[in-house]
Amino acid sequence: MLEYVAIFVMFCLAGIIAAAIIGFSHVLGHRTKSKTKLAPYECGMTTTGPTRRRMTIRYYIVAMLFLVFDIEIIFLYPWAVVSRRLGLFGFIEMLIFVFILFIGYIYIWKKGALEWE
């Protein structure tokens, strides 16, 4: 367990530093309560509309589909590193892998998951 002590110390330090920064600014900070200051921060732009807007479910679908194909790309990396050693056999294996995901792509396309309107 001893080798984990360092991690534990780091956790504690991180907590202390975060608490200290917030605490100091709370105690020492100068506060002016104007309307602009209390509004939710939005990259320096003027806030528009309510904060809790309902998002259309399409965002989630697109995000989910993105994840699947993103992970596919990540799986291609380790193959690419050793592709010379694996040779033609490895190449065919990878093609099959991509092909299976390609069928998934056709499926979501035909099902209309990629249509926005």
């Binding site: 694996l86 056709i106 035909k110």
Partner: protein, 486 residues
Amino acid sequence: MDALIPASEFRWIVPEMILTGFGLVLLIMGCLTRGPVASKISGVLCIAGSLFALIFTVKMWGMNLDIFNQLYTIDNFGTFFKSLFLAILILVALVSLRYADREEIGGGEYYALLMFGVLGMMVMTSSHHFVTIFIGLEVMSLAIYVLCGLLRSELASVEAALKYFLLGAFATGFLLYGMSMIYGSTGLIDVVDLKKYFLMKQPFSATMFIIGLGFLLVGFGFKIASVPFHMWTPDVYQGAPTSITAYMATGVKAAAFGALIRVFFTAFIPFQFGWSEIIWVLAVLTMTVGNITALVQRDVKRILAYSSIAHAGYILVAFITGDRGEASSMLYYLMAYSFMNIGAFTAVIVVQRKGDNTSDLDSFAGLGARHPFIALCMSVFLLSLAGVPPLAGFMGKFYVFSTAVKAQYYWLAIIGFLNSVVAAYYYLRVMMYMYFREPIGEAAGAVDRAPQYGLVMLICMWALLHMGIFPRTFIVMAQKAVGIFG
């Protein structure tokens, strides 16, 4: 270790490749076609693919080798379970030919998901590597999360899917955490390596390892629906489409038990004195809570759900002993259990009406006089579940309890016997409704007759009678399957 995998090793996973191939074809069919004809073709393709896979699987009986750098294993244990899953798939697909069309959930995706689910089960039970087991479990679970919620217009079905997904994801987290803790304390992630490691390092005890073992039990306990991880079972089994309930109650349970038995009986036998006490309590609770709660249920699907919890308890009775030779009793029991449950759920499907996913006891009233064949089939399945000779359910119980007696767990066997007596009440209650009650309501007695249902029920009935009267072949098969632990 060489990174290269010889191409010849792929011939050992032909059944898995067949399932994947057919599943992909069905998926494409699902998005390009629609309508009842396309659904029928999909169903037939699914059955054909499963039959092919079954033929190739059965041919592998007797093979014993590790492939893909020890990530995958072909042995009798895996082959036994794979054949069972494929048989379940064929029966469920047969039922679905009619049921899925009736409920308008059929089509390519439905059958593709059934096949991918079985693919996951097959991967799960044929590896002694934690990572492969986990991947198999996830492939299986993801398919079933979707299948549960297919009745999209029914609130109960959506609830079932969401509930199963959330709790399932949580349980999977436990399982993965357990695996990682065992890996953290030993540095090994292969069950066979762990076995060798414990043989050298006896006595081995590390707090992290013990906690990991506990987490592993929680994860598997959820999938086999043992008390206290059973809360999802009745709601999910009731809400899911009935064909999927049959698929889950048999396939998922068998797969989870398969992986559990393989992991524990390979590596963790030296710690049997530790985990057997915990599972002793779990088994008694699982049997008792399942049976007592089933007594007050009025929905037949719910009764069968609680009965499936109780049956998990019976199987755990044999699991506790840690007797590697007698592990065959669990395999035999799972096989018998699968056939009686698929049969019973098929009978429920027959009695259910379109768009009505409930199955109140009243809908079975008077079935004996109006539809004697269906009532007879249901009675056989219920009697087998209750453990009445000469049916397979009796042989299974006898075999499981005698394993406990042999290992001198007398109290456990006695509690098991008492539980079977309690269970007989609610199984016989359904029979009482079928034979001694007058039909209730105006639409009473209307059933969905179709040759597919009849065929499935006949197959299940034949299997139960055959396994009950001539159990030798099956017991020898199960004993050969557990020979890998020897």
